[in-house]
């Protein structure tokens, strides 16, 4: 790791003041940033520790939703009674990610800001437009098993690796940020961006802006029917090849009243298609409806060769996640429950 200096911010104002100087980075959990600093992928020269900011609370919001503090830990968030009872999808997604140790360290704000796990982004000996803008993309034509099948550009085919963010996209969370210029709110769909010509920009966060809270709108109507389904190369502690967050609001007549669908690890951001969700509404919940929605969600998907299988896998995962959501509240452990290891 390069020599760095360290500052501990006492409050949001102090953190914002310190962050105005170039080369400084906020640190909360540090699970991704410290790793990237060891690999020389990110090279801030000073860290501003925001763990002393009063941003670790999880509290009900005025509108009947929930406010997740930016420095609340992923584990504390997943196990919080208000998340467990009101947002089972979010709990399931968080617990499907990383390891217990990392979930104990990683912050909610940091989860949103984690970088891609593209091998070429991590390897400073290779070309990467995200790490070194203008240098090219070594992933295109390379090993692409984990890469994008949707929304990629000629400059970058990286995927966003978060599980939590897939659930937050489906829940239509709102990211609260502050900067010296004031506070603003960013709809989750607008928070992460597609690579386009600027893959070095993961998000629409401006330099110096600090995430303070993540707001979850009320979601009672979906609480009885949600599923987070994650497919990966081993049963636990691996990034997704494909993941799906599915929520259904189903009437007694079996007709879908409302639906949300988001795909993870297939694009530079959690992937939603309004048409796919609209295609579920007003239709009987069942195989035909689900297959149609899956087709629409994967519309335009294009593989890189080695990851072509992800298109079929994603389509099937969407259908299975919707079937699971129809049954009740599923977390990813249902994939393995009752199965004996070899």
């Amino acid at each position: 790791m390069n020599p760095i200096t360290y500052l501990e911010a006492g409050d949001v104002t102090g953190a914002l003041y310190h962050s105005e100087q170039p080369g400084r980075a906020f640190i909360a959990g540090g699970t991704n940033l410290i790793d990237l600093m060891k690999e020389q992928v990110m090279r801030p020269h000073a860290l501003v520790d925001i763990n002393s900011l009063a941003l670790a609370e999880i509290t009900p919001s005025a509108s009947g939703g929930l406010l997740l503090g930016a420095t609340a830990r992923n584990a504390d968030t997943a196990y919080h009674p208000l998340v467990r009872d009101g947002y089972p999808l979010l709990r399931a997604a968080i617990l499907a990610g990383a390891s217990p140790q990392i979930r104990n360290m990683a912050s909610n704000g940091g989860n949103l800001l984690q970088r891609t796990r593209c091998h070429y982004f991590y390897d400073i000996g290779t070309a990467c437009n995200k790490r070194d803008p203008g240098s090219g993309c070594a992933a295109i034509g390379g090993l692409t098993r984990q890469h994008a099948i949707l929304g990629a550009s000629a400059h970058c085919i990286a995927t966003h690796p978060s599980d939590m963010c897939v659930a937050l996209a489906a829940l239509e969370a709102v990211v609260h940020v502050e900067s010296a210029a004031g506070a603003r709110q960013i709809a989750f769909a607008d928070f992460h961006r597609l690579p386009g010509e600027h893959p070095e920009q993961d998000t629409t966060l401006a330099p110096g802006e600090l995430i303070t809270q993540i707001e979850l709108p009320p979601a009672e109507r979906f609480a009885a029917h949600s599923a987070y389904l994650k497919f990966r190369d081993r049963a636990s502690y691996a990034f997704a090849l494909v993941s799906v967050a599915a929520m259904l609001d189903v009437g007694d007549d079996g007709v879908v009243r409302d639906a949300r669908l988001a795909l993870g690890s297939v694009a530079h951001k959690p992937w939603r298609v309004p048409l796919a969700e609209a295609a579920l509404v007003g239709r009987p919940a069942g195989a035909e409806t689900f297959a149609h929605a899956a087709e629409l969600l994967l519309s335009g998907a294009q593989g890189q060769g080695e990851n072509d299988f992800k298109i079929t896998m994603a389509r099937r995962a969407v259908i299975r996640a919707l079937e699971q959501a129809l049954e009740g509240t599923h977390d990813n452990s249902h994939e393995y429950a009752g199965k004996e290891p070899l």
Binding site: M1, P3, Y6, T31, S99, Q101, N104, P341
Partner: protein, 185 residues
């Protein structure tokens, strides 16, 4: 005039930070550079080499320690960020010569071969029990998944942890009886 090729580089002032840590119940004070990870501090400055640097990337769990009773990867945090914290390493689990029940169970269930991952496995299992979220053998297995064992001692590890937690005995594969220390035919 200085020759820029041969002159000794101007020594850059290196800032150090005073930190106080309680490690295995004993107060310590260190002066550390900002880039020193908690793992490096424990191993190189506190001479506690039980915590292992397996991958140094948060992928193996061999560096697992407890901070305030919660398990973390000590390779993924800076020592300065832990100022004032209460840290337990594998060296702090036993009570004098009396092994921690998990340590005893690891021996009885043959829960290690080379032993390199064992300090991390033990600290992780203590953290798992503190967290209180594992209510079945499957959940123990899932919530121990942050600790990789290259020797494949997982059946013994699961048996040891579940025994100490008082869970009903359950072999991994009831059709294939497993005797610790043997290779099934």
């Amino acid at each position: 005039m200085d020759d820029h090729l041969t002159a000794a580089p101007r020594a850059a002032a290196i800032t150090t930070y005073p930190i106080n840590l309680r490690i295995n119940g004993v107060p310590h004070r260190f002066e550390v550079e900002a880039w020193v990870t908690l793992l490096d501090l424990l191993r190189e400055r506190a001479a506690l080499t039980g915590s292992k640097k397996g991958c140094d990337q948060g992928q193996c769990g061999a560096c697992t320690v407890l901070v305030g009773g919660k398990r973390i990867n000590s390779c993924l945090t800076l020592a300065v960020m832990q100022n004032g914290k209460d840290i337990t390493t594998v060296e702090g689990l036993a009570d004098g010569a009396q092994l921690h029940p998990l340590q005893q169970a690891f021996i009885e269930h043959d829960a290690f071969q080379c032993g390199y991952c064992t300090p991390g496995q033990l600290c992780s299992a203590v953290g798992l029990m503190n967290e209180g979220q594992a209510n079945s053998v499957a959940e123990v297995r899932e919530l121990m998944s942050g600790n990789v064992c290259r020797c494949g001692a997982y059946p013994g590890i699961v048996a040891a942890v579940t025994e100490v937690m008082g869970m009903p005995e359950r072999k991994d594969n009831p059709d294939r009886p497993y005797l610790p220390g043997t290779v099934p035919a």
